[in-house]
Structure formats: structure tokens, C-alpha cells
Assembly symmetry: D2
Homo-oligomer: 284 residues x 4
């Protein structure tokens, strides 16, 4: 039986000896490093490290691993995360009416590309319930027209708790989450249908068409309280021309939206992303 990988990420002030310090105890225990990637951000004076290894015949349990890394992290004054490749997180997907990103994500889950469970799908419209059913996810239609945003978000937060959700993916969810929501739940990936920071906000394809751009883009990013200003994970573009109407931009955009979003979610699930200084470092 294959042992799961242990993925250790840390960000700490740069100084000599870090790689050795982070890796020597693993080899002392007989652990086997599969991937090891380090980056120094000279300007920020920070050292970023991701080490993926397995225990093989090593008799060390999760809490001992945690203690070992915690000790090092304290010593190097670093923030750290430890993840295991066999821990499959629960992910909630939020949608409105458009189905392309939702179907695409669920198809990739089914094909084994995305290692996550999708126990629930939340929407402000009832349209996509069938898709949820096809993929055995619960669908919650939360009508926002007759409720205060506060009460809607309270319901959502309660669902996320009930379903033990670790990550939310906004797969064309055309609502803005309030600051107070984000204070309570902040691990959220959004797909924005423009090449950010161009065309922040509403109707980016209409505005791109009006501006006469020759390429359109899609941006997957973590959500923060500044709309469309969160750390960018992935961006894709596609050519357009004067022959393309707004509807063609929307059609072409769908293809890059689902690819950018799927790549970002995969990178997140594989623990390949570092977030700091409102930016990401993606170790791929």
C-alpha cells in the first residue's frame, strides 16, 4: 500500500542554512523527499519552501511530524502548513445561472483530476439543480431577493459548517460576499472573466468589446475584501477580433474561464500555492 505524501510549506525570513535545517531531520528519520522547491523573495527578504516527502518504513506519526516541524518553524520564525495527500477536503461550489465552470469542475472530480469532495452546491438561482443531482451533490437554492444579505450569508455560513467545508469555489457566482462573511470564512477561489486588473467589476466582456481589445482573459484568484483585488493564482487569454460580438467574447471566454479555474483549484488542492504580500507564489 502506498504511503501518502506529507507536504510541508513554510514562509520565513531568509537566512543561511534553511534548506538544510528543513530537510536534515527528514533524512535522519529515513523519510524520502519526492519534491523540494525553494524560493527566496529578495525584496521581501522571505524564504519560501515546499517539501513533499513520504515516510516509507518510517515509524513516525502525524502528531510527531507536527511537533518536529513546529519546533523548526519556531526556530526559523516561520509560518507553516502541513498537509497529507490522502486528506480529501470538502469543497463547496457557489453558482448562479451559468453552468460551464460547475460541470467542468464536477467532471474533473469524477475523472480524478481534482482530489476533492463536493458535498454541496449553493446558488441564488434554482437553474442548476439538475447538475448537482447528476453528480450526487446537495443543491441549496437560497433566494436572495426576499432576504437581507446578512441573513442569506448566515444561512450559507451555517451550511459550510454543517458540511465541514474547507474551501469554497465561486464558479460564476454573481454575488459579492460581504466583509463580515469573509471574516468568518476566507478560503475562497473566484473566477473573474477578465484579465485582471483590467475590467474589474461588472460586465467585463461588454467593456472589453467596447474597448476593442485583441485578447480577452480570465483570472482565478483568492477572494479578499477588496473586490477583484485578491491574490492571482492563474490567468489565461484567448484572441478576439472585430468579427467577435459580445456574445462571441462570452462564448470564447467560457473556455478560458473553466481552464483557469480548474488549474487554480488543482494547484490549491495540491498545496502548491503560497500567499503573501497580496500575491501568490505557485510552485508547479
Amino acid at each position: 500500500m502506498e504511503q501518502p505524501s506529507i507536504i510541508f510549506r513554510t514562509v520565513c525570513p531568509d537566512r543561511p542554512g534553511l534548506v538544510s535545517q528543513l530537510t536534515s531531520w527528514i533524512s535522519d528519520y529515513g523519510g524520502n523527499i519526492k519534491h523540494s522547491d525553494h524560493h527566496t523573495d529578495q525584496e521581501a527578504g522571505l524564504f519560501l519552501s515546499r517539501i513533499e516527502w513520504d515516510r516509507k518504513n518510517l515509524l513516525i506519526n502525524k502528531s510527531e511530524i507536527y511537533e518536529q516541524f513546529k519546533k523548526i518553524a519556531i526556530d526559523i520564525n516561520g509560518k507553516f502548513n502541513i498537509n497529507y495527500s490522502d486528506e480529501i477536503p470538502n469543497v463547496g461550489i457557489f453558482v448562479s445561472k451559468q453552468n460551464h465552470c460547475l460541470i467542468d469542475l464536477l467532471w474533473r472530480v469524477r475523472n480524478g483530476e481534482l482530489k476533492m469532495n463536493v458535498p454541496l452546491i449553493i446558488s441564488n438561482h434554482p437553474d442548476l439543480e439538475n447538475i448537482a443531482r447528476d453528480f450526487n451533490a446537495k443543491f441549496f437554492f437560497i433566494d436572495t431577493s426576499n432576504c437581507s444579505k446578512l441573513s442569506v450569508e448566515k444561512q450559507i455560513l451555517s451550511l459550510l459548517k454543517d458540511f465541514d467545508v474547507e474551501l469554497v469555489v465561486l464558479a460564476k457566482y454573481m454575488q459579492i460576499l460581504s466583509d463580515s462573511f469573509l471574516d468568518n470564512f476566507s478560503s475562497i477561489i473566484n473566477i473573474h472573466h477578465s484579465f485582471l486588473p483590467a475590467f474589474k467589476g461588472a460586465q467585463p466582456y461588454h467593456r472589453a468589446w467596447k474597448r476593442g481589445v485583441k485578447l480577452i482573459g480570465a483570472t482565478a484568484h483568492y477572494v479578499t475584501q477588496d473586490l477583484d483585488e485578491g491574490p492571482i493564482i492563474e490567468q489565461c487569454t484567448v484572441n478576439v477580433s472585430h468579427r467577435d460580438e459580445v456574445d462571441d467574447l462570452i462564448r470564447k471566454g467560457r473556455d478560458i474561464e473553466r481552464i483557469a479555474l480548474a488549474r487554480a483549484v488543482r494547484l490549491h488542492l495540491n498545496h502548491q500555492i503560497f500567499v503573501y504580500d497580496s500575491k501568490t507564489a505557485v510552485f508547479d
Copy 2:
């Protein structure tokens, strides 16, 4: 001896019969259409047409051709341009200190990719004089530090007139041309080192780096009085990652800047661009 092509472009209100009306007189005279491309902008209600043909054995001179097209243009209420493939325009290139776009353009002229003469290069710095000499262009260093913008631009306009310049290319000219300059000379292509409309204005690479984008861009556009808001001709992008410092963005950007600019200039020289509604239609 090969006859030059005649390139006719028109923009007019859309209505039935336009293609036939524009082409039938050419065939009546025995002219041979080599390329014929038409586009209807449904929203604007406009018809755009580009017809490239040659006279073969046809005994019709330039003024007769002009009169024929003018008659049709009046009838269809259109604006029109007539160009000949053997008319090689004089192009002035404006630069500051960076040489990559200048060398690239001059190399393409020498290789026959860009059908233009470059009789003069104007700069607010003396650095690139050698390059001008290598390619037999006059180099005018106009010191902007001790002169008013008005007087500098007056000198420039006078040079453009002296050298019979039809098109100006801003090949990394880090100065803003005044509205009054543009009133006097308006056929200008600029290369901006961002994916417009993102990062308009100064230091786009620094701002792109700070924002943490995953792609950077370059945009070639016609210059208008609204800074970086002119009609876009061509856009290119290239991937960047957290490993790239600002200097890497600048280095990678140079490659897409020169390609985007060269393509835009070539499209202009081949009369493949229509400008209307602050946008371009590029017939390629």
C-alpha cells in the same frame, strides 16, 4: 514587370448591394481582385470593405481610379482611402534610451518585412545615434530639458514636414505628446508595455509585478489625446511567475513589445486596419 496592387478601403452605412457595387466596376474594366474582405458591424450599422486588386492590362490611371471610387463613395455615403502597394511611405521613429524596438523595426525594414523608409529618428536622448547611423537614418537629438514642450514639439513638427513623414512610430518614446501636437500630426503608432487597459500610464511592469499577475502584455495602438486610450491594433502576452523580478518582466516584455509593435506597423503599412468608434478592425 509586376503591376502594383490597388488597395481600396471604405466605411459606410450598411445596406444591400454594397459588395456588388464596389466590385462590379473593377471587373467591368478587367481589373483582377486579389483580396476582398468585408465586415458588417451590426451594432454600429456600418459596412467595412477592403478590396485589393491589380490593373493587369487595364488602361486606367490613378486619377481615373480615384474619380471612380469617389463617385461610388459619394453614392454610398462612405469615407474611403486608396493606396498603392508601390508607394513606400516615409516613417519617423521616436525613441528615448531603449534600443530594442528601434533595432527590430530597422532590421525588418532591411529584410523587406516592413515596406517603409525611415529617413529620420528623433530622440530626447543622444544614446541611440549609433544605431541610426548603422541604418543610414538621420538622428535628431532634441534636448527637452532646457526647452518648453511647445518649442520642442514645434521643432519636431517641422522635421516631420521637412522629411515628408506620413507615419510616426513611438518605439519606446517615453514622452507624452501634447494635444496641440496631435492636432497637427495624428498618424502615430505607440507601443505600451502592458496589456491595456490594465496598467495605463507610468511603470506598468513595476505595477504588474506588485499586483502579482501571471501574464504580462504589450499593446500597440494608435495615439489619441487620451493617454493609452487610443484604438488597439495588436496585443501580445507572455507568462511570468513569482520567480521573475521586475527586471525579468522588463526583459521578457521586450520580446513581446517588439513583436506587437512590428505586427502593428506591418498591418498599417499594408492598409489592413480600419479605425472607427475608438476601435480597430484588422483585416488579416
Copy 3:
């Protein structure tokens, strides 16, 4: 009520006056040309023309239109096709075990991106029957292990006839169609998982990985009797690195396979493709 577009395509020997001849009768009748695109292949001496127009208030029926174009086609010695935008063809999709191209095509049909009916799906494996059911298509599993190729293909041809199929799409159908099949039915689009002509034949991703390429590709093409040698419609590529195993190439490849195939099918359905000299001209 909107009138359907009439799409006329012709290929004929090049000579003066063709554009006018093809378009003048349309305008004489008051028809309105929406798109008109012409290309001269100098080397082959051929003229290609695609004209899309609508009848508006014009009282001319399909057979009269046919007669008009036929008369012209005879005169110009051309082959021609006439299609109407409201004629939705029946398309048969052939699959084996992989589902990504099939789901993608069916999703695009449902979303209105691809104007076609999919009455039947044929497979040499039973695996994808569920998907067919989800999208209301009949699924025919034809076991090839106990039958001769001849008898299998006879069954298939009979089904294509029964369902009045005009186009077949091989959406990862891992079987080779015989010459005699292609003699009986030849309107077939295939997706090959390489950048043709590289890696023709079996296991292109394995061979690409072994060769150490830095980009992998997907090619949508019409099927001919020479395996993987048919006219290319669309090609896409994606970056790979030494970090990618064969499984990663397969995963990344799925995204470009479905995009290349969907674009090719769309271009075919919109009658934007010309085939001649074992190549395509794609008017987009």
C-alpha cells in the same frame, strides 16, 4: 421573425470579375450580404468564396436560389455548396472509453454553441452509455471483439442511414475506419492527440514524453484513407516540462483535445471550412 442566412461557398479557377459576378445577382434581388470573404490561392490558381446573406423581404425560394447559383457555378466552372443557417444537421458521435470530448460536445450542443442534433452515439465499449442517456441520445454499443470489422462497419453504416446522419465526429474513438467504410461515408472529423504530423498513430503522449518535447498538441482533422493525414482544421498546444509524467501529458492534453475538436466542429457546422488539395481554408 428572423430569416435564416444563406451560405454559399464556391471554389473555382481564378479570373477577373468573380466577386462581382457572385454578388451582383444577390443585390439585384435585394438580398443583404452579411459576410463576404474571398481568398485566392495563387499557387493553385484557385478562387475561394464564402458569401453569407439573408433574403429579407425577398420573394425567392430555395430552389430558385439553387438554380441561380448553379447557373453561375457552371459559368465559372466551380464546385459549390449552399447551406441554410436553420438547417440543423444530425451528427453521430463515436467514442471508446474516454468521456471528455463527448461530454464537452454535448454540453456545447445544450448551451447552443454547436448547432447540431446528436441522435446517436456509437461505441466499441459500453462505458459511456450513462452520458448518452443524460443527454437524450441513443447509445449503441457494438462489440468489435467477436465480429469482423466488415460486419461492425456494416452495422454502423446502417445506423448512420437510419438516423439520417450527415456528419460523424470521432470523439476519442480508438478504432481505425476501413477504406470501404470511408467510401460509403466520408464526412468525418477526428481529434488526434498530437501536434500532427508529429506522432501519427498510436500512443502519441507516450512518445512525446519519451522524446522530451516542451509542448504537446492536439489536432482536429477530416478523416481520409491515409491515417492521420487528412486535412487539418484546428491545432492547439500546451506547455509541458520535465515535471510532467505521461499521465500529466494525458491530463493536460484532454483540455486542448476538447477545445480543438469543439472549434473544428463549430467551424464545420457554420460552413466556414473549404477542403482542397488535402488542406483546409478556414474562413473565420
Copy 4:
């Protein structure tokens, strides 16, 4: 004064403890690791490591560093290279008649993008002598028409020795080097004007045009005795259409040829490439 970086690369059989073993002695001496990148090729059972570090205040000289790494390399049964960022190699460029790759490389050297000296340029045609002069390189025209290949290559090898050349770049050198030449000098990067392995050998653009591909490519690779079969370093592609003649493919190809070649040379100069199993691993 900034200390030069020390770049250590090794390839060895995979086993636990390698990262620690490679890095711990550096930190023991107070060296500072700037980049550290490791890759395990599971199939080949190999571990690849690149460590870039500087000595800061560390009093250890080059021969001591060599001894330290050699000791480790023997212990881990690995092949290794040690390079210093301030060692600027002499590079010979071979050309025929086309100038675009040559000018591009020399321009990048002058701009500081490529850290190399170009003391000599060798050609089988006299055409590009002027360019060599502009950039202060010696130009050797070696007429191949009246000499045996053996004698020509002997002259070349002698020149490479005289000028202490470490790397040869074939910048559109339209000659094939013999096996015996490659036995004597093997550090050679070539640019091939196709997307290898498609269109190996002569006239790839003509064949690509005839095949009707929708993308053309350029491939930079190390030269081996199997023509166009050497380890691939970098590949680029660009869209083409039926409107492009062979000359257009050649023109468009020039842009991707020079970019692919320049990237490959830069990666080589920065010691970011590993070659094994007829493939490269590029650590960028």
C-alpha cells in the same frame, strides 16, 4: 562588491537524504542558498539537483569547493558540474546567410541578457561579415564548395580551440556537422525551424505549408549525431492560416526561431539545463 553565485548541479540515483546531504555542508560553512531546486525522475530512478548559493563572508576557495562537492558526488554516485556566475564563456556562432538569429543573439549580449563573449562567427557564406564587424566579432568565411567536409571541419575545430570556445550556437547554419566533428566538440545548440519531431530535415516550412498545418514551430535543441534528434530545450509556436504563403511562414517563423534560440542559450548560460536520457530537464 557582490560575490558571484556558485551553481552546483548533480544527477544521481535517487535515495533518501540527498537534499540534506547536498545542502548541509554549505550551511555549515555559512554559505547562503539563493535557489535550490530538485526533481526526482521516478521512472529513471534519478535525482536531479541544482543549488545556487553565494559565499558571503565565507573563506573557502574554488578548489576547496570543488573538493567538497566531489566528495559528496562520489558518495552519492553522481555526476556533477560546478559553475560560477562570473565566469563568462566564449561562444562561437555559426551562420549561413540568414541574419535574424545572429543579430538577435548579439543584441542580447550587448544588452546584458546573455552573459557570454562572442569572439568569433563562422560561416559558409560571406554575407554576414558586416554584422560581425558591427559587434566586434571576428568573422571567418570558410568556403565549403572547394574543400572536403573533413578539411573544413578541421579548420573549424582549430578555430574553436584558438578562441577557447566552450559553446557553439548554430544560428541558422545550414550545414550538417559530421559525427567525427561532434566527437571532438559536442556542446552545441541548434535552432530548427519546425516543431520537432515534425518536419525533421530540410525545408520544414515548405512541408508545413504543403501539409496545411495551423501552427508552425521552432525548436532549440542540443546537437547529437542523430539529425534533429538531440535533447529539446525550448519550443515555440505561432498561428498560421490558409492566407499565409510559404514566405509568410518563413517570416513568422523568424520571430519564434530567435525567441526559442535566445531562451535556450540563456538557460544554458545560466546552467539551468540537465541533459539525460536524450531529454532535458529545465529548471526555470
